[in-house]
């Protein structure tokens, strides 16, 4: 669906403050993909995602949406942005309207839709993030909790009915329950509507749980990309890049160090549990007595 070819981005070219934020980045995101972008602060993640919806123009290289160069003269960038929704970090800071309904309707109004259509989309988008339009719609966005404001901001993008959603740290600063709620809503949307998801996150556990593929950036370059399992199976490399691995993957690594031959590529608690039980069953010559997990 989206393809970057040799994308390079240089900020403040020709000044003493010149900085290369991206260098020769090539990647492909297929329709329906769930892809994670990880990298230390300053590795170019935010710069990269802003190229995907045409907010930034590459200094060199091209970005294609459905094989059309989005920076070509005749392409309407607004249409690109409608199709590729980008949620910035701390998106609650962009809310501005008097009511939640009006704020979520901002995008659809900019698309020039009829008031009925705007209303319909707004209600649908709010419902999709688990906020009852009748209850939350008339309230001021500034009266909501952090987690609710975050969800309103996501609804603001969903109301534009994009085909792809890029989320930059969607759960930063939220408590574990709010984090889980937001990620659950996103995955439900993906499954129900075939939305393509790009998740930029420092939370390796979230990336491991949700993403099928991971792109690793370091100082503006793609240093690894592939299936999530393969990328996280190399913890030493990720640590050197200032990143971590999911805690259970770290545990599997430590077990192998201690001579226990568990699979190194576990991503979730459940996978790790099975992997460890398999190994222990192997040495005991039998499976441990099965007990019901409550």
């Amino acid at each position: 669906m989206i393809r970057c070819e040799g994308v390079t981005h240089v900020y403040q070219r020709g000044s003493p403050f010149e900085a290369t934020a991206l260098e020769d980045v090539s990647l492909e995101i297929g329709a329906g993909d769930v892809i994670g972008i990880i990298g230390a602060t300053g590795s170019g993640k935010s710069t990269l995602v802003q190229h995907l919806n045409g907010l930034l123009r590459p200094t060199a290289g091209r970005v294609y949406l459905d094989d059309v160069d989005i920076n070509a003269r005749e392409v309407d960038r607004r249409r690109v942005r409608q199709q590729v929704g980008l949620l910035f970090q701390y998106p609650e800071h962009q809310l501005f309207e008097e009511t939640v309904t009006a704020d979520v309707g901002f995008g659809p109004r900019n698309l020039g839709l009829a008031p009925d259509e705007v209303r319909e989309r707004t209600a649908r988008a709010l419902a999709q993030v688990g906020l009852d339009p009748a209850v939350f719609g008339p309230r001021s966005p500034f009266s909501l909790s952090n987690g609710e404001m975050r969800r309103v901001a996501i609804a603001g993008l969903l109301a534009m009915e994009p085909r792809m959603l890029i989320l930059d740290e969607p759960t930063a600063g939220l408590d574990p329950a709010s984090r889980r709620e937001i990620l659950d809503h996103i995955m439900r949307l993906r499954n129900a509507r075939g939305l393509t998801i790009v998740l930029v996150s420092h939370s390796m556990d979230a990336v491991a749980r949700l993403c099928r593929r991971v792109v690793v950036l370091d100082r503006g370059r793609v240093v690894a990309q592939g299936p999530t399992r393969d990328v996280f199976a190399d913890p030493a490399r990720l640590a050197a890049l200032g990143l971590g691995v999911p805690q259970v993957a770290e545990c599997a690594r430590l077990l192998r160090e201690r001579g226990v031959p568990v699979r190194p590529d576990v991503l979730t608690v459940e996978e790790a549990r099975r992997a460890i039980l398999d190994v222990l069953a192997g040495v005991a010559g039998r499976r441990p007595a099965p007990k019901k997990v409550p």
Binding site: Q12, F88, F106
Partner: protein
Amino acid sequence: MNFLRGLMLGQYVPAESPVHRLDPRTKLLGTMWLVGVVFGTRSLAGLAVLTAFLAGVLAAGRIGPAYALRGLRPVFWLVGIAVVFQVVFGDSGGHVLFRRGPLVVTRENLAAGVFYGYRLILLVAATTVMTFTTSSVELTDGLERLLRPFRRVGVPAHELALMMTIALRFIPTLFEETETIMKAQMARGAEFTRGSLAARARALIPLLVPLFVGAFRRADALALAMEARGYRGGEHRTRMKELRVAIRDYVAAGALLLVAAVVLVPPSLWRAVVGR
């Protein structure tokens, strides 16, 4: 689409140089002095001397000439307009170079336009040289020390300096924030550069509301952080850095006096003094 980066005029260029090491008070007073001298100049020779002097300071401050000129670029527009005004609306009479309908260009007006325009550039250049070589911290420190004697007559030297420090500290942050909010709204289909004037003004609401809300949030957070670190106004407060005047400051003062003497003292007087 780096909306605001181009606006950072006369940004401090960190370097190790004798100009950088000067006491900020010397640089502040020196700049004011130079501005006065530029205003007092009546001759092209004076402008030439001042240009040479500023070029020398730039070189001593390790600022590349190309970078310095780029810093002046926005001023050139202003100067261009000033020159055109002077030429078109200047005094009538004099040697006519060009005439078309009501438009008359005389040699005198052209010369005056170029002279005043160039003087304007020198004025900006003098202050830019200071901001290139003086960090905002030094600048505020210098200002606070210079204003301190006026505290007794009610000048809030410490508060002014603190306000300036915080403003300078947060300008880059606010620029970044403006850019982010603009982009976030553009991601929701907003347009800031199209449509009628009224449409554009309306388009600013989604930018300004979050920006103000954010500025208040930051101000709150900052006030809290300052209080948490024991801030209670200028009283009881000491400073880590005491400014000290060094030999190089006297040298700089001497150089400034010399430039003023060369530029402002009429040649006849010079001859009288030197040729005694």
